[in-house]
Subunit: 404 residues, 2 copies
């Protein structure tokens, strides 16, 4: 078969069932004839699907709605506690866990410092925090659809194997298999930038018609590309490496082995590193006081705080970072002409002035006439965005509505 | 309806009909049971489709094939002259026309110098060359599915309006509507880089599973991105502007209004321009002799020829161009991790040494571990590649197999 994709009745049935469910989820309380209109199906077709979903306990009849002339229609809603989706954000400094219910509401969240970067220790921590979360949220095991684990680095698609994670110093760790051995659930390991972006897109209820790019401005800089039919991976799963676009000839050395990458100048790690070098070189700056003279404690947030207070070194570092990020976004716009760019990650929490600087840089470097419709927005899910994204990876990849 | 896409029986029927037809086209001579296996349909389902295609004169029974135990099976082939697709390449220096038959063979081609860049004059030339081609190829009007016109610049999707074409100095020319008024056929105007890429992909029988990027290295530099379901446009139709990625801070002025774009250094126009400036500045080079001292006649090919003969200025210009192009491709690989990059356009006809230089530059700038599966190849369709692409735009966008 290979290149000739097949469409059959099962694909139609599943497609329509998902549409009807999502329509109820979005409508919160909705009747069958409105559903039929929205999804473009006949009322009998909608009835057959909703009957099946009611029988499975996935939706329920909440009562009668208002009459618009005829009988009062039966209103339908999603059963919140029919399914649960667990999301885990495996970060360099914290591990975060969320439990999301069938209405896509977060019913539990927890965060703990990352205890170790050693694979087995970290897997132990993930397992413990996941099981604790399920217990505290009082979720029965058989209602858990799966656990979505968001992990920084290069993840092999399908197997969830960590091929390379510079932040953790991992090479070739079969994380998904190892977690499956520890947890009695479906486990999906996904790249953290992809999970984060999927989470933000779903929380913002965006439906990409061309493409949406989520950019994670954090300890490192990465991105994910989402097309109308879902996440874009690329031929070897490495798409979205916006942080490793080279924007400076003979620039700073980058952990990827090249010089002058955006990440080597504009990431949280790079901003802090440059401040440390400046202080080492006796540049006058209030950043030195913020870390109490201990350069090891100096982080990007201190640089941003000093910039807001008018410190000139801090301002120039922040401005340079914004300029480089803007260049990267302009390149993404020239190539992909996305409808939205969602800026996420720790650096975006430093205030609107940084976002404004980035936007200014984008318009400086963007090609005239290109990307006329792009909107640059800031993610809305806060500190738990990546963990929530992990839960959405489960929603989007495990078929829990059909019988299979 | 909007966000809830509908799948119904008609979509299945059309999808399967296209699969069966393409299977016959690809197989050249093929029997129904092989088709059924390849497209994943039952033999009766295949029979119903092939009966319909035979009745419409689109395919025919060529005779009996070899027996594999049972009855000798009836072999099917595509009727070559049932449909024709016209492609037009509107270039800055030449206009090219091809006629492609139902077997996707080019049965006619012609090229003439571009007489004028004034819209109405050029529309006159396109019309005349198209009608001449149809006459010379002896194609009856009612077998012509449409005319696909490949035009450089920013084309509005759907309307085929030229929003901006720097090469022609056009702004807001309703080219598709104007051509429809002159030609008694369906007319589709498409961006030339997109047409070129679609043509090459089809001629190479590629079926993208992640993405294929076609890069047009010519008078200007552009690209097109093709996903599994076809051309990627972007939110405002401007995707693929790889030539306007800025790779040099404070670089050369570019026609787009920015400085240091790839196109400002590495396009055919830029290579020639830089050689002219060097000669003006009394740099010793054999390029001066190649244009007979007339700098207006100096073009990129002369620079490449001089480079092959060992001229050091020419070699440094070619090397710099390859380096910049390599940087752009490395960026595209970091962001999109494509399965193939197809290098097309006039500059690629200057020999393998230039392609090798580009590939070396790519591996220098590409992120380690990223794009492990990317293949960089050179287009195979030659001078008529863009015109052939225009014909493929018609194949891919007009439904000529079903009754509608």
């Amino acid at each position: 078969m290979g290149k000739y994709s097949k469409l059959d009745l099962t694909s139609i049935t599943n497609h329509n069932r998902i549409n009807v469910f999502n329509c109820i989820l979005e409508g919160k309380t909705i009747n069958r004839s409105v559903i039929a209109k929205k999804v473009g199906l006949s009322i009998p077709a909608v009835m057959s699907i909703t009957d099946d979903l009611i029988e499975k306990g996935i939706i329920y009849a909440v009562g009668k709605g208002e009459s618009h002339g005829g009988k009062r229609p039966e209103m339908l809603s999603v059963v919140p506690d029919r399914f649960f989706f667990i999301g885990v954000d495996v970060g360099r400094t914290s591990v975060r866990v969320v439990v999301m219910n069938n209405c896509r509401d977060v019913v539990y969240k927890a965060s703990k410092p990352t205890e170790s970067v050693e694979p087995d220790d970290l897997i132990g921590q993930i397992t413990e925090m996941t099981m604790d979360g399920i217990k505290e949220a009082k979720v029965p095991d058989d209602k858990i659809v799966g656990v979505g684990v968001a992990m920084p680095g290069l993840i092999e698609r399908g197997t969830g194997r960590v091929l390379f994670s510079p932040n953790f110093g991992w090479r070739d760790v079969p994380l998904q298999d190892k977690l499956k051995a520890c947890l009695p659930f479906n486990v999906l390991v996904e790249n953290a930038n992809r999970a984060l972006t999927v989470g933000e897109i779903n929380n913002m209820q965006l439906k990409p018609t061309s493409c949406v790019i989520g950019v994670n401005l954090a300890y490192g800089i990465g991105s994910a590309v989402v097309l109308p039919n879902g996440l874009y991976y690329g031929a070897s799963g490495t798409s979205g490496e916006i942080g490793h676009i080279i924007v400076e000839n003979h620039g700073a050395y980058c952990s990827c082995g090249n010089y002058g990458c955006i990440e080597s100048i504009a990431s949280g790690d790079a901003i802090a590193r440059q401040a440390r070098i400046a202080i080492d070189n006796k540049i006058q700056t209030s950043i030195a006081e913020k870390c109490g003279g201990d350069l090891k404690k100096l982080d990007a947030k201190m640089v941003f705080d000093a910039a807001k207070e008018g410190d000139s070194l801090a301002q120039s570092l922040v401005k340079k970072a914004a300029d480089y990020i803007g260049k990267g976004l302009a390149i993404a716009i020239n190539m992909l002409d996305p409808e939205q760019i969602i800026l996420c990650g720790g650096l975006t929490l430093n205030g609107e002035f940084f976002i404004d600087m980035i936007k200014k840089a984008v318009s400086k470097y963007q090609m005239n006439h290109a990307g006329r419709n792009v909107q640059i927005v800031v993610g809305k899910s806060g500190l738990y965005a990546t963990a929530i994204g992990g839960a959405w990876i489960v929603v989007n990849n495990i078929d829990f509505l059909s019988d299979n």
